[in-house]
Symmetry: C2
DNA sequence: CTCTAAACTTGGAATGATTATAAACTAGAG
DNA sequence: CTCTAGTTTATAATCATTCCAAGTTTAGAG
């Protein structure tokens, strides 16, 4: 909604151009709850913007991060960086199995942010409060699988793969 | 101190071998407060273990992370992942200018962790509570420099560079 | 409108952190 | 001491991300 507006504002105020590509990226970021990676953004937008370049996605993300309106979350067990357009203090929960990242409201993050701001002496520019573990779904999954061995090879995600919602509406 | 012991224990209990390389890495992790990257560990150990391979450092770090005794912090504005052998809930502060990462005690992280554990339904495996910004030193630095322009090119860190303690003995 | 400089976008090449692989080594139980 | 599965190592391979050199647009002035 107005999160889109907020991002657009930020671009305007910085004297930057509002190109169709930027607008598309901003809209996607503002309305999704998926905490997408650059690759995910690229793939979701390509149908509508066939000429879009991955480089543009990266550029735009960098710009938005520099403007302080988008947060970098780091990876969720995959090898790509996830982004979050919600810069209000909140907790992210990343599942290291399905690589999905969700938001979690918290009454303590605000206090924590306050505390850090006042006691650190740092000029704070952003935060990354991510807890990782197994989501309920993947726990069930794991319980079913008799754990084919304790040592799991790590596999890299291929350029084309998606992290996808497994079935219905969820979040 | 006994943080070294804790890590060694974890390896033992998992039935893994305690090789000289692993011991060295564990000791370094347990005693430093630098939140090093794999590269940093490699370079700090190379003098004493000339045959050490970067791959071993990565392998060992992965092992320790899997065992849950080491945390992954993500990058500090550089392009490499930082690790933290302190898995007790605490806040990390990363300076995006000098790329140093420090610890910050906090009375709220505990509450936050509790909250997440009970309300999320996730099986928590670790956390990454990192605030980033400019440390006092770099703020002064920035104030001095009349900001040569708002747009700063990003530069990649070269393989050989170090993030170093500002005054201490450098290698 | 029209023009223009600066700001953007783009495809492809380049970079470099991290992984995979295969061969050589060794911790540690018997 | 003897084995052998677990480890290390050097090196190649992978791939997210950045860089680059053009080609395009944007937005403001005329």
């Amino acid at each position: 909604m107005d999160r889109t507006e907020k991002l657009v504002q930020a671009l305007r105020e910085a004297g930057l151009r509002l190109t169709p590509q930027r607008l598309a990226i901003v809209r996607l970021l503002a309305t999704t709850d998926q905490h997408p990676t650059a690759q995910m953004i690229y793939e979701q937008l390509r149908p509508d913007y066939p000429s879009l370049s991955l480089a543009t996605v990266y550029n735009t993300l960098e710009t938005l991060v520099d403007l302080g309106v988008v947060n970098v979350l780091g990876s969720a067990g995959d090898d790509a960086v996830h982004y979050d357009a919600d810069t209000d203090p909140h907790v992210n929960l990343a599942c290291i199995s399905c690589h999905r990242v969700i938001d979690l409201p918290s009454q303590y993050v605000h206090a924590l942010e306050q505390e850090v701001a006042t006691t650190s002496g740092y000029r704070l520019l952003g935060a990354r409060v991510v807890y990782y573990g197994l989501c309920p779904d993947c726990q069930r999954e794991a319980a079913r699988q008799p754990a084919g061995g304790r040592r799991h090879r790590r596999r890299r995600r291929r350029r084309g793969e998606h992290h996808q919602t497994q079935s219905g509406s969820e979040e």
